[in-house]
Amino acid sequence: MYQVSRAYPYIFYFSLTLYLLSIFWGLFLTPEDFVQGNSYRIIYLHVPASFISQSLYMAMAIASAIFLIWKVKLSVYLVRSIAPIGAITTFIALVSGSIWGLPTWGTWWVWDARIVSTLILFIMYLGLISLHDSFSNHEKADKFLSVLVLVGSVNIPIIKMSVEWWSTLHQPASITISDKPAIDLIMLYPLFGSIIGFTGIVTCLVILSSKLQILKRERNKSWIKSYV
């Protein structure tokens, strides 16, 4: 914990600087989009938030599997601390998508597979928090939370692939591993920067939240007393 405590301020400030620089680059130094005009610039918030909201759930699923198989308590603390941050990033993705939708599609909201599945992800995050908080016995709550996270992870590929599987207003992913990016390089570089920066900021928040979770849950242990 000591090493993490020392490392995370550096990661945080580096990520914040990178994110702010990418935002500045994206907002002021890239040209206007031919079709969408200036409204596309919200991509530097929307895409990182959407990417992180799904990635955090996958991280929770891996941590839950580690907890259920190897009984590593730290991994379930991580799951519990990721849940609210995941909910916030999903909310940011939904709101920024909505704001982007108004000038692009002419409406705040459409009952579209990708958008509804992201809303479902948001509700799932809230459901996970409710489930864990409704049990006073933490050991039971940890087990139930891990099982639900693992079962719920079936929704992640559905959210990811919804733009491919269903006819939808939402555009397909602009960046994929296998294909050439559908976005111009001048817009792509700040987008990469914003994704990396946002990921770094969220990672630091997860570290901080996990630290609080460990302190809260292990408060009666002697090592915590000596640490504090």
């Binding site: 409704s134 039971k140 087990k143």
Partner: protein, 215 residues
């Protein structure tokens, strides 16, 4: 086999448990046309949305106390320490619930479909989809109610309903395909695939959860 018989007798003796959800389903399906003052054709269009939501609601109500009574009277604890596999008991319970509640509701759903859309073709093709769907719903809600065993069904519904919503998109597409006389077997195969995974995995997960509750 004895466990299946025992569960069948237990549910049959409790008419509130199996007849109640069926009657609630009938009431919803009868009540919804009263709220729309439109031609019969438009009723048929909104029928499917109401049907899926009614089935979701009724399955949720039906499985509300699927494990609660056995948990409260100690039967689940006895089963857990006996030689009988707990996941087998869970599977049997879910099967009986589907047999006494899911099958009649699927049949009634098809009957209402025939009445409201005036299409025997649509109703007859809808029936197998309803059978598969109701079994999936019961499995998933049983999972939710096992998680929130002592905390009420609202929590169980909150955590399991999001898992079922992608399935509703598939059901919507399947109905459109049947309506347009397109090949809908792909959707049925997908539903069967989901069911065949759930039917084996759900009892295992639920028995793990019940054991955790009993600890």
């Amino acid at each position: 086999m004895n466990i299946v018989k025992l569960e069948l007798l237990k549910l049959k003796s409790k008419s509130r448990g199996w007849l109640g959800p069926i009657l609630v389903f009938i009431l919803i399906m009868v009540a919804f046309p009263l709220t729309i003052e439109v031609s019969n054709k438009e009723l048929g269009q909104s029928f499917f949305s109401v049907l899926w939501i009614a089935i979701l609601l009724v399955m949720m109500l039906a499985t509300e106390d699927i494990f609660l009574e056995d948990f409260n009277d100690g039967s689940l604890e006895q089963f857990a320490i006996s030689d009988i596999n707990l996941s087998y008991l869970v599977g049997a319970k879910i099967f009986i619930y589907w047999l006494l509640i899911g099958v009649p509701i699927s049949f009634l759903g098809s009957v209402f479909c025939m009445g409201l859309t005036n299409s025997i073709y649509l109703a007859s093709h809808l029936f197998p989809i309803l059978l598969i769907t109701s079994y999936i719903f019961i499995n998933v809600f049983s999972f939710g109610n096992a998680l929130s065993l002592t905390k009420g069904s609202v929590l169980g519904t909150l955590i399991t309903l999001p898992l079922l919503l992608p399935l509703l998109i598939v059901l919507g597409k399947a109905v459109i395909s049947i309506n347009l006389n397109l090949n809908y077997l792909g959707f049925v195969t997908l539903l069967l695939g989901v069911l065949s995974i759930i039917i084996f995995i759900a009892p295992l997960i639920i028995s793990y959860i019940i054991r955790a509750h009993l600890e």
